[in-house]
Assembly symmetry: C2
Homo-oligomer: 246 residues x 2
Amino acid sequence: MTYCVGILLKEGMVLASDSRTNAGVDQVGIYPKMHLFAWEGERHFAVLAAGNLATTQAVVAQLASDGENEEIETNLRTVASLTDAADYLGEISRAVQKRYAGDGDKSVFQATFMLAGQIQGEPMGMHLIYPEGNHIEPSPYQPYLQIGETKYGKPILDRIVTSNMSLENAARTALVSHDSTMRSNLSVGPPIDLLIYRRNQIDGGKHIRMQQNTPYLASLRKQWQKGMERIFHRLPLFDWEKNANG
Amino acid sequence: MTYCVGILLKEGMVLASDSRTNAGVDQVGIYPKMHLFAWEGERHFAVLAAGNLATTQAVVAQLASDGENEEIETNLRTVASLTDAADYLGEISRAVQKRYAGDGDKSVFQATFMLAGQIQGEPMGMHLIYPEGNHIEPSPYQPYLQIGETKYGKPILDRIVTSNMSLENAARTALVSHDSTMRSNLSVGPPIDLLIYRRNQIDGGKHIRMQQNTPYLASLRKQWQKGMERIFHRLPLFDWEKNANG
């Protein structure tokens, strides 16, 4: 399994992904799920992937080779908009799934993607691309997208995220969301890739890879856990507890 | 959907369940998922249910009618242990599912139960009963069980719950776990049933039903949300934020 989250803000966007892959508990691997494509000053994209590893690797490999191939008309380097990029990625994904599934059970070969980035002169954006190739963007009322094992890390997003928050606060929220998920589900694991894109600054973004014991992440995890315990012990008493103390 | 959680402690146990039922978004109902059976001084049980509403209602109705029927040898009033009670409930559940599913698709009619309680002279206990009738108990290392929509509310349990905590602290944890779930998933909703059994005190337990605006729950929800925001804003800064401030 996998967990990836993207938060779209007025200041830019933040993406975070884990690195655990498993095909049964006896086949666990480390594969980062975040793939970066950048032509500085022109355009930059991040592709985050969840689902069948062979499918996601084949799709990412084709995105990379198409981008270097001047004979291919449509690729990440030539698409006019982020929506076109999402359509293009969706088509590759469908073709790869079809190649291996044939007329058999498609569900095994499925993959879901997030495509985020900006093309010079175009608005910044983020798309969640379903296995069928169709895609959605976040809304101003819920300015984030998730793929993979999404439920454990959703409550903290629903409690904290607004599109007005700073890039750094969004990055901390994404890390806490990942920490909550990793504590509760073994199929999501470190290292965590964190990417920060500042709006209209097409420089490939700030990319940081963190292990569990990377000092910043270790300190954030510890302070969050301690903070939770502290607020927990300050929650209101039930009536009968007050009477017992009174 | 549904969310139910049970926490087994040295002092006793705490159970909490929501009341939302839905069969599609245009058919949403309020049905408490917690059903209590008590013969004071002798034995008391709580049955929490998730899954097909017709199945869970049929099972609970039969538990109730069997308990009043002196001609029926095995019922909640006569079983010798909690394990026997779980076996008995599992058999009823399987029979009900089979009655309606026939040879067709069984999955629609499935239900999962939690059975918790104590029989005088026997240890207190808690079982999660699968649709197939088999069942599990919590472990000392993870002294809780969940059924239904379990993922949103699991991180807080994994962060806070230990079998040494007080009944009241466990009750607060269960309420926070429900609050996190209800904020992130519309298929789980109030009122919340909260039940506290003190070990070896076979009095039917302390049962409280709370609406979202019940003062205690409203205050707990607000304090938790405020506390989360407070600790969030105290998380460590990234290096580049410190430099920007320095």
